[in-house]
């Protein structure tokens, strides 16, 4: 049994978040100490990483994620990210990060206009990120999506920039794009590489009873990165 401290990961709870506890449970199962952070808190505790969970923050009024970015906790998360802190946004968390300008692009209603809730196949495009280091190049992961507005959009110029700088980390398999995302983009990172958002839910794929454990590769990579950083600064 290792005695090294468990990586501390904050999970922000917005009004309307509904995957916050699932994310915390999945992280704890992988060896983290998950700490729920209330959206009204304007300071983060001492954390190695922050997760913005899925759900419908602030009712998803106006545009998904548009209101959540004004919460005190998000200002703290923006500062955390600006200082190089690791931030993972899942589904609604991805939408919040895009609206907050911490990630490029925007998420639009699914092309089908239908809410999609099923497993999808995503291909790992980059393994040299703090969020995919446990994956193999081009590895295909099975992770569920459940969203109505997950159609990733970037205009031509931005898209070229993202591709050139290798910020597209996850892509839906060509025949399995659930929402019409441009170029099949399922997950993108910021230019610095410390902020990452994806529509699929890794926290719902950490137990073989639920059909897949591939989500653990994403969350486990994040925990590895937190541990590595702690060692580097120790």
């Amino acid at each position: 049994m290792s005695t090294e401290p468990r990586p501390r990961v904050g999970v922000v709870v917005f009004p309307g978040s509904n995957d916050d506890r699932d994310a915390a449970l999945a992280l704890e199962g992988l060896g983290a100490e998950a700490i729920l952070v209330w959206h009204g808190d304007d300071e983060l505790p001492d954390l190695g990483a922050v997760v913005l969970p899925g759900g419908f923050s602030y009712g998803d009024y106006l545009r998904c994620g548009a209101i959540a970015r004004f919460s005190p906790a998000m200002r703290a998360v923006a500062d955390f990210a600006a200082n190089g802190g690791l931030v993972l946004g899942i589904c609604n968390g991805f939408q919040v990060l895009c609206e907050a300008g911490l990630l490029p692009g925007a998420l639009r209603p699914n092309m089908s206009l239908a809410f999609v809730c099923r497993d999808v196949a995503v291909r790992v495009e980059r393994t040299d990120t703090p969020f995919t280091s446990r994956c193999e190049t081009s590895q295909e992961l099975t992770i569920p999506v459940k969203h109505g507005e997950g159609c990733y959009f970037a205009d031509e110029e931005l898209l070229a920039e993202l591709e050139a700088s290798g910020q597209v980390v996850l892509r839906y398999r060509e025949d399995d794009n659930p929402n019409g995302s441009i170029d099949g983009i399922a997950g993108v990172a910021n230019a610095e590489g410390n902020v990452f958002g994806l529509m699929p839910h890794p926290e719902h794929a950490v137990d073989s009873l639920l059909g897949s454990t591939d989500g653990a590769l994403v969350l486990g990579s994040l925990l590895d990165a937190v541990r590595d950083r702690a060692l580097a600064t120790a």
Binding site: L62, R63, A66, E99, G105, A106, R108, P109, N110, M111, S112, L113, C151, F153, A154, D155, L158, G180
Partner: protein
């Protein structure tokens, strides 16, 4: 001052809502094309003149009401103001 903001999906942005509305209208027998669905925000703005109201609403659009990557907006002020 009463101000209206019209928010539209930018040209070229896929608008599945507009497509669904268009398909339904055609189903009803209307000969329509290129339907786009946006958003209308009516506001009561505390401003002494139109220029100041417009300036405030421009900032509201930039900061919250529209996402510049995917949406355009148009500000309508009362006639004669």
């Amino acid at each position: 001052m009463r101000v209206s903001v019209l928010v539209r999906p930018k040209p070229g942005i896929l608008d599945p809502q507009g497509e669904a509305v268009e398909a339904s209208l055609r189903h009803l027998g209307f000969a329509v094309d290129d339907a786009r669905v946006g958003r209308l925000v009516d506001l009561e703005v505390d401003a002494s003149d139109a220029a100041s109201a417009r300036e405030q609403v421009e900032r509201m659009c930039a900061e919250l009401l529209a996402n510049p990557l995917i949406e355009s907006y148009e500000i309508e002020l009362p006639e004669g103001s």
